[in-house]
């Protein structure tokens, strides 16, 4: 089944209750199974510039380089390897573009952005991320955090300095250890996971998970599972009701059906005529 029919995608972004600017940016390319979310940082409007560049450059870059019509010749693991190369190359390109822009324009000096990119293809989901924007996956009634934040707090949790329960009380939540566009080069974290029909994926900026607990996210996804649009709206509303101290963005992807790619001579024959 074509990706655009197999995936339902909803994205929403909101400045929150405190900030006047929205430095978050979201992009999706349903026909390619690509979604991108970025949370920018930097003075003046630089955060918006960085996150806007990241999402548009990466979405556009993948439109040009991730040519799913031509992937039929490859077997599944080859497409995975190619996916990793293409995604990483586009991230590297966006990184250089943001870094160069920051060098040239003094108003943009020091700007950067977090990033989460997901690519859905052939019943798998590839995710690359940098910084503390997150990807969650809801499978059945279980919500799991797929990405691990690149943040000081996560490092403190990993080293045992602070427990996961205490992490909520930390005053150092806002410090990321990696960002796009800050250095000439960046190494994103990249993983591929098997996807299943009725999985729901949630990409979000820290404005969501700093304001509401994972339990509440899970409860919302369960209670409103039949209405994806309302779920996204409700998540943002909850974050705002709890203070809305930061911009809040979500992209939700619901897997409606299998999106396995047909292979073999029949598929090749069909592709000749399509």
């Amino acid at each position: 089944m074509a990706l655009a029919q197999a995936l339902q995608i909803v994205s929403k972004t909101d400045p929150g209750r405190v900030r006047s600017h929205n430095e978050d940016c979201v992009e999706s390319r349903p026909e390619l199974g690509v979604v991108v979310l970025a949370d920018g940082m930097g003075g003046y409007n630089a955060g918006e510039v960085a996150s806007g560049m990241a999402t548009s450059l990466i979405a556009e870059g993948l439109s040009n380089e991730w040519r799913i019509k031509e992937l039929g010749k490859l077997d599944r693991s080859q497409t995975m390897a190619l996916c990793e190369r293409v995604v990483k190359a586009q991230i590297a390109k966006a990184n250089s573009a943001i870094f160069d822009a920051a060098q040239k324009d003094p108003q943009c000096a020091g700007m950067g952005t977090t990033l989460v990119v997901c690519v859905f293809y052939d019943n798998y989901m590839a995710v690359a991320h940098i910084g503390d924007s997150r990807l969650y996956r809801m499978r059945g009634d279980v919500l799991e955090q797929v990405t691990r934040d690149h943040s000081l707090l996560q490092e403190q949790i990993d080293s045992g300095l602070i427990s996961k329960e205490d992490a909520r009380l930390s005053h150092n939540k806002n410090l990321v250890t990696k960002a796009l566009g800050i250095d000439p080069e960046v190494e994103p974290e990249f993983h591929i996971y098997e996807s299943q029909p009725s999985d729901v994926y949630l990409l979000c900026s820290d404005g969501l998970n700093d304001m509401i607990e994972d339990e509440e996210i899970q409860m919302t996804l369960i209670a409103l599972r039949s209405n994806l649009d309302l779920t996204a709206q409700q998540l943002i509303q909850s974050a705002n009701d709890n203070g809305g101290r930061d911009n809040v963005s979500v992209i939700m992807v619901k897997v409606l059906s299998s999106f396995a790619v047909e292979r073999g001579w029949l598929a090749r024959l069909k592709s000749l005529f399509s």
Binding site: M41, G112, T114, G131, D132, R137, R139, G140, D141, V142, E144, Q145, V146, R148, L152, E155, Q156, D158, S159, G160, L161, I162, S163, L169, S170, H171, N172, K173, N174, L175, V176, T177, K178, A179, I182, E189, H191, I192, Y193, E194, Q196, D206, I212, E215, E216, Q218, M219, T220, I222, A223, L224, S226, N227, L230, Q234, Q237, D241, N242, R245, D246
Partner: protein
């Protein structure tokens, strides 16, 4: 800037700003906070400060360290915590949250490691941990098999204690018709869904400003006081009548 106030028997001895990454307390004079008392070990405890957070660690002292009356080995200090070492007390003050007024507070920032210099202490542990822990966080393969018992949704509503309440007033709905007529449902969760899944479902959300009802699924909208809801959220008023999936119910604020 966080600080400690050292006192004994209610008399303040000194104030110690936590400007160093590591500050030690002990009987021996080389400690940053020397406390000359036999109940105190030579090197008794250390306070580690990382940016805006501080931690206290007992250095295997003979008589132990208490925080808010409880013995600790290691503790993440919170504003107003009281550390007891023998008869001496150290009160911890961290007014970082009060400084929230400054516009830049809480803005996401990049923390940069000196590229060539050795990374700060927590980093080396984090690096090897990351690849190992990632598959655990969300295994690439089906995790269903490892988790035969999904937590029932009923376990989830453990809404955070600080959850916003509808202006402090608790709402409820009473079913007026159908098989469950007479039953009352307290709206204690932030989200309560009502109706029949697959036919007609609505959600009642509890917000700081009150309760709201929104259509979730179903070809036709539930009605509120006889009028169809439409796709928008509607605030519920005391004694509003809801009809959903053929069942009438009344919303009311509990006395």
């Amino acid at each position: 800037m966080a600080k400690l106030i050292l006192s004994v028997d209610g008399t303040v001895l000194r104030e110690v700003p936590l400007t160093k990454e590591r500050i030690t307390v002990g009987r021996k004079p080389h400690n940053d906070i020397p406390v000359d008392n036999l109940a105190v070990s030579g090197e008794h405890a250390a306070i580690i400060t990382i940016l805006n957070d501080s931690f206290i660690e007992d250095l295997n002292s003979t008589n132990g360290t208490l925080v808010n009356g409880k013995p600790i080995k290691k503790h993440f200090l919170q504003h107003n915590d009281v550390i007891e070492i023998g008869k001496h007390k150290l009160k911890y003050f961290n007014d970082a949250p009060a400084a929230a007024a400054s516009a830049d507070f809480e803005k996401t920032m990049i923390i940069r490691k000196p590229s060539a210099a050795p990374a700060p202490a927590p980093a080396p542990a984090a690096a090897p941990a990351a690849p190992a822990a990632t598959p655990a966080a969300a295994s690439p393969v089906d995790t269903q098999s490892q988790r035969p018992t999904a937590p029932p949704p009923a376990a989830a509503p453990a809404a955070p204690a600080a959850a916003p309440t509808a202006g402090g007033r608790e709402g409820a709905i009473q079913v007026l018709s159908g098989a469950a007529a007479g039953r009352t449902l307290d709206l204690t969760k932030n989200l309560t869904t009502i109706g029949k899944p697959g036919t007609q479902v609505a959600v009642i959300t509890r917000r700081p400003t009150g309760y709201f009802i929104t259509h979730v699924e179903g070809a036709s909208f539930p009605t509120l006081n006889g009028a169809p809801l439409g796709p928008q959220a509607h605030q519920l008023n005391d004694h509003d009548l809801i009809e959903i999936a053929g069942v009438k119910m009344e919303f009311f604020y509990k006395p």
